[in-house]
Amino acid sequence: MDTALRTEKAAASTQGLTSLARLGPGRQAMIKVVGRTLDGRADGMLERRLLEIGFEEGREVEVRHVSPFGGDPIAVRVDRLNIALRRGEAAFVLVAPRPDEPVETPET
């Protein structure tokens, strides 16, 4: 896979974005990039599966629940859909938090 090209593409557009894995509980955001991490890693297979289950650029997303044991996995809402995923996968969804919603909760 042309990782170099993807990384290049990534570098251009992550300004102001955070990953779904870092979004705190109850926070709302807009999905901006599916299939790429903040540091530019890409995973085609995962990207496809994220798209297929309902993650899509331009959709509203909200972190609804976090696991009682160590905060991983998380459950998020996209439209009316509730989707459970581990933070490892959530890192591949880049989001723009709502302006009034501060970004918090580091990844680990």
């Binding site: 297929e52 009682p68 991983d72 996995p73």
Partner: protein, 624 residues
């Protein structure tokens, strides 16, 4: 018109209500089995429509796309592409679409449509959609999709007539039936293809949706509670506790009935037949053996009733979500939780339930550790030994020592299962960890018919197994234990002179170092068929050992006299791991499609059982 049976494939995204629709169409005429060569369950059924048209319907595993993420989903792709061995490709597709989630489901419908089959769309869960203010222009949707669309509510069987009526009639006429131009050269879709389809799905959804509707308030409210950081785990463990109570307490009465039924049949056989090998074969071999397994049917049905209700309501996925982190600690997936839970009743349904795990490696690990969960067949053995050797005293307010030992045995099974999983993950089933990604579906009230159909199916599978493999192994063991007959001047138990006795004494070379007597070694052989048979076998060995008061009823007293405490504890430790259950090995063979894994399973369980029993024996001997 030359009428032909229409082969209809039911396809859809997970949680679209496809199985409910399949149940509504076929009812009790449905059948389940396996696809040849793979371990994926095949559900199919035949029915005749109101106007006499014949339809064969096959329910394909739910999938998000034709690029599979699990063995189940591979089958869906392969059947649709005509690549599945022993399965002809369908004549038409019935695509089930969740009306409350058009965007995601339409993308898959579009992907299916590209295959070239005649396609009809069931717009399912229309009641839920209406209830939440979602309004869909069905005509418009059909026009945009280029396929007939019929609103349905599968759980209430609404819309089915219309659905069948709309199947194009030329499909039933072999003379003019169009041959589906299926895209045999199907290649995995690129991410760009997926995005293009998604774009189109979104456009259609936007065009067809008159009203977007509100969010699912009830689901949201329930999730607030059951996924709560504190309340969530408490509710989960409460449910598990209730389930175990039910499995053990509610099943007692029907189990007694089955037991007395078997005893009655045995008595009837013995009195009806002349004394001799035939009466012994039927009474001691067939009835005792098969009866000792069928007696677990009530427990299995109760367990599965819980599992099916929790699954259909949508809670099971939440349980997997809650448990995922704990399972991930040993490299497993949250979904492994359900199969492992089922294994407390019996490893067979547990191993079968592992099919729901997407990733082959995780599935294999789950299958391999399932026998470590203390199945109900071990209970009679534990109960006997604990009653005989553990004093009935209390170690604290309301805590009996006997109960504590029982709990410890269960715990030992769980802890070692997690340990073995961790070791397997680092060695045998090593690989990249797989994504954990699943939809938490809307909560729904389970439909009695669907639960009942599921239970009938489980019962059928279980009884078929009891009637075949267990029957055959019981016959073999009966022969081993009955021949050759003892010499006329025999002074010891008849079983001692039989093949089983010879084998048992030979085995004792292996088992003596871990404190087992030759009687135990003999009992381990019948215990191969089913663990609990070992209790009956011990009864046989001691009852026939010449000591007059050693009837089965007083086995407790007999064992107290015959075994030392270290031996008894070693026997308990052995049974935590005991590899001896032919049915488990057989189902593992079927599910992994080779003898390699069941043999591996047998080997590692044997090694663990041996080491644990030996360590227990020597430590106990040293301490006492």
């Amino acid at each position: 018109m030359s009428a032909a049976t229409l082969r209809l494939a039911l396809v859809g995204v997970p949680n679209c209500g496809k199985s409910a629709l399949f149940n509504a169409l076929t009812g009790t005429r449905q059948k389940t089995g396996n696809y040849p060569g793979v371990t994926v369950e095949r559900r199919w059924g035949h029915f005749v429509t109101g106007d006499g048209r014949q339809i064969d319907v096959v329910d394909l595993p739910g999938t998000y796309s034709l690029d599979p993420a699990s063995p189940d989903q591979e089958v869906t792709r392969d059947v649709l592409l005509g690549r599945q061995a022993g399965e002809s490709s369908p004549d038409a597709i019935l695509c089930v679409v969740d009306a409350t989630n058009l965007r995601v489901h339409l993308r898959f419908a579009l992907e299916l449509k590209q295959l070239g089959y005649p396609i009809i769309v069931a717009l399912n869960m229309m009641d839920l959609a209406r209830h939440h203010g979602i309004e869909i222009d069905v005509e418009r949707l059909a026009r945009e999709l280029g396929a007939p669309v019929v609103p349905t509510v599968a759980v209430r069987r609404s819309g089915l007539e219309e659905l069948l009526r709309r199947l194009p009639s030329e499909l039933f006429d072999i003379a003019v039936r169009p041959t589906a131009a299926i895209d045999a050269g199907h290649k995995p879709r690129s991410v760009e293809d997926v995005r293009a389809l998604q774009e189109e799905a979104r456009r259609i959804a936007r065009a067809a949706l008159v009203h977007e509707g509100a969010s699912f308030r009830l689901t949201k409210a329930i999730d607030e509670v059951v996924l709560h950081r504190v309340a969530g785990p408490i509710i989960l463990f409460g449910l598990l506790f209730l389930m175990f109570q039910a499995v053990f307490a509610w099943a007692e009465v029907p189990m007694d009935w089955i037991d007395s039924g078997v005893v009655w049949l045995q008595a009837a056989t013995v009195s009806a037949l002349p004394e001799g090998w035939l009466a012994s074969l039927i009474s001691d071999g067939v009835l005792a053996g098969v009866g000792s397994v069928i007696v677990f049917l009530p427990q299995i049905l109760i367990l599965f009733a819980f599992v099916l209700v929790l699954e259909q309501s949508g809670y099971m996925v939440r349980a997997a979500f809650l448990m995922d982190r704990l399972m991930a600690g040993v490299g497993l997936n949250g979904r492994a939780f359900i199969p492992l839970l089922s294994s407390f009743a019996c490893a067979i349904p547990g191993i079968m339930a592992a099919r729901a795990i997407d990733t082959p490696r995780d599935r294999l690990t789950t299958i391999l550790i399932a026998p470590l969960m203390t199945c109900s067949a071990r209970l009679p053995v534990y109960t006997l030994i604990i009653a005989a050797f553990i004093p009935n005293t209390t170690v604290g307010p309301g805590i009996g020592l006997q109960g504590l030992v029982m709990f410890g045995l269960y715990l030992a099974g769980i802890v070692s299962a997690l340990g073995v999983a961790a070791v397997l993950k680092l060695t045998v089933t090593r690989g990249l960890s797989q994504p954990f990604l699943m939809e938490l579906p809307k909560y729904q009230i389970p439909v009695l018919r669907d639960v009942a159909l599921g239970l009938v199916d489980r019962a059928r599978i279980f009884l078929r197994r009891a009637g075949t493999i267990i029957l055959i192994s019981m016959l073999v063991i009966w022969v081993l234990a009955s021949f050759p007959p003892p010499p006329p001047d025999a002074t010891e138990a008849a079983i001692r002179y039989s093949f089983a006795g010879t084998i048992g004494r030979a085995l004792n070379v292996v088992f003596a170092p871990i404190g087992f007597t030759w009687e135990i070694s003999i009992a381990l052989i019948p215990g191969l068929a089913a663990r609990e048979v070992a209790v009956a076998a011990l009864g046989t060995v001691y009852a026939l050992s010449g000591s007059e008061d050693a009837v089965v009823d007083s086995l407790v007293a007999t064992l107290q006299g015959a075994w030392s405490l270290p031996t008894a504890l070693a026997f308990l430790a052995w049974y935590v791991f005991a590899p001896q259950c032919l049915s488990t090995l057989a189902v593992a063979k079927r599910e992994t499609n080779s003898w390699r894994w069941p043999l591996f399973m047998f080997g590692y369980l044997f090694a663990l059982a041996y080491i644990a029993a030996g360590a227990t024996y020597w430590i106990a001997k040293f301490v006492t």
